[in-house]
Amino acid sequence: MNVLLDKKILDSQLTDWYFTNRDQLMAASNSVFNSFRPEAMECFRKMGIPDKSNENYKYTDVREVFLTPFNRYIEPRKILFSVEDLFRCDIPELDTELVLLVNGWFYENRPRLEVLPNGIIIGSMAEAARQYPHILEAHYSRYADFRKDALVALNTGFAQDGTFIYIPKGVGQDRTIQVVNILLSPEDLFVQHRNLVVIEDNAMARVVVCDHSLSAHHFLTNSVTEIFVGQNARLDYTKLQNEHNSSNQLSSSFVHQEKDSHAIFNTITLHGGMIRNNVYTRLNGPGAENHTLGLFLADRNQHVDSYTYVDHAAPGCTSRQNFKGILDEKATGAFTGRILVRPDAQKTLAYQANNNILLTSEARMNTKPQLEIYADDVKCSHGATVGQLDENAMFYLQTRGIAKREARLLLMGAFGHEILKQVPVEPLRDRLNDLVDKRLKGELSRCNSCPLQCQETC
């Protein structure tokens, strides 16, 4: 096991795998997916998996995580488990519309594609492509540009299934949609899911995505999620990453916002191996507002790299990015926050903050703002800090009888709280606060009431 592959032959291996399976892939999928495959794979072949020579991946050699000889499948394997036994997310009062993906494939704990009474459609991407090709044609691969990123190209080359969410015009949902991505396999596995969320004009969607790994194997996920937020529509999206240390994740999300829309995209990283999160936002119509947030807690040899790109393509839009990290032991992290203000995007407000706490002298954090501003009437600010816990605050707490350890926990919790308090769903917010507290205390990091019992393994 674990025979390391030569980095140089990685790209050609993946390309070969595509050509070997192309006919089968094409036959199994709808034409919407198929129409993009050849060009995407050609782009992938040209770019190759990014290493540190790629400016956008300066702090993470993505090739490293591809070195494990993963098993890859172009159809779901039978995984024997009972959802009822394993999964009962009992966040109090969080009554959700639950969608499960197991190893990137839609899991049939519910109809493959369901139209709710208010017209909301939820289910499998593959099935949506069959039943609603016009929706996919209008949105699929429109926001995630495979010409610019090899990981997106690779995903587009192989895309078959994932989560599909459609909210029709003017519809507000009463229930939060919860997507649980489960990794569960008797062998090391490479997974690529492709997701689409379409929120039509004046509609709203509240989505919670939980990533869990349930077996002690090496996993690599390379996922792409495209989100369309129509005029005056609203998105509240919370992503909770909670996988074990041998589970690596490359996650690319693309949020496309039209006029007067409002979006919150919040990534909470509790646990995992090497994690790279790309969040691209395009503010495409005037008056759109975006909040892209992130909080990560990393220890041991974990590496968490966040990359954001906010494209102000229309005037009068607002973007606020706020990312925080707490790094313990030998953990490393990076934040790159790119803001592009196009020439006619006047009256832009763009803010970016990245604050990090290093708990040891061995932990490392790189942070880099990248501002490209081509309009003159804009307000833009950015700030980054990498520091320790506030000594004065520590002493203040101690003089009230609070021991160092407890004081540290209070301060770290407070540090993260700034991000968590922006989670719009209260029961979920409470649960996340609780999980973060537990994680900081070094207690088990899984959702304690979730019988999935994601194991911590090294």
């Binding site: 609070i402 021991a403 160092k404 700034e418």
Partner: protein, 258 residues
Amino acid sequence: MSAKSSIPQPMLEIRNLKASIDGKEILKGINLTVNAGEVHAIMGPNGSGKSTLAAVLAGREVFEVTGGEVTYCGQDLLSMAPEIRAREGIFLGFQYPVEIPGVSMVNFMRTAVNEKRKYLGQPEMGAADFLKLMRDRKALVDLDTSLANRSVNEGFSGGEKKRNEIFQMAMLEPKLAILDETDSGLDIDALKTVANGVNRLKNKENAVIVITHYQRLLDYIVPDFVHVLFDGRIVRSGDKRLAFELEEKGYDWIREAN
């Protein structure tokens, strides 16, 4: 067990205490004895070492103790961690209370109260009892209820911060309270409220050291002893008349005499 002696043990005994920071000596041999039931005032010009003395007593590690000893209720104070000193009954009211965004006053006080109870072998305080205690003690210093729901000192005005210090003191019921310039920046009404709070908490079993720059506060918290700290040493001690003398003659009088 220490043998019972007929002479009551002092609460705090500081002998020839010397402390420095970055190799610079700030406290140059302090001697001070405080007994239960007493109120001591420490006065002195800016930079004379008043806050340093308070911080050293509370256990601030940036100051290096280079000589002397401090006994608190018969124990070696200097060997205790700051939180142990606090649980043993020492309270420092900060000259500059620290803002701690994200830590709510309620959570902060609940943790503090229960850590102390745990240390003393008492059960944790129930939620209802705790909230009642909060309400009572807030009333004592006229602390706005909404402040208690906010983060520790965050966005508090100068006066609110000082009242919050006395509120915390009221919650923790210390044996020895060291109040560092709790009067500075307070208008006369706030000063009275704060002094009133301190006086109501005062009894025969506990003691207070008030550090102040002005005699004004001492009209409301009447000291048994007044000490003048100058250049790291206590250069004069007396009763409350010393405070009036200082007020009258100014600190130049001390400067010239030393």
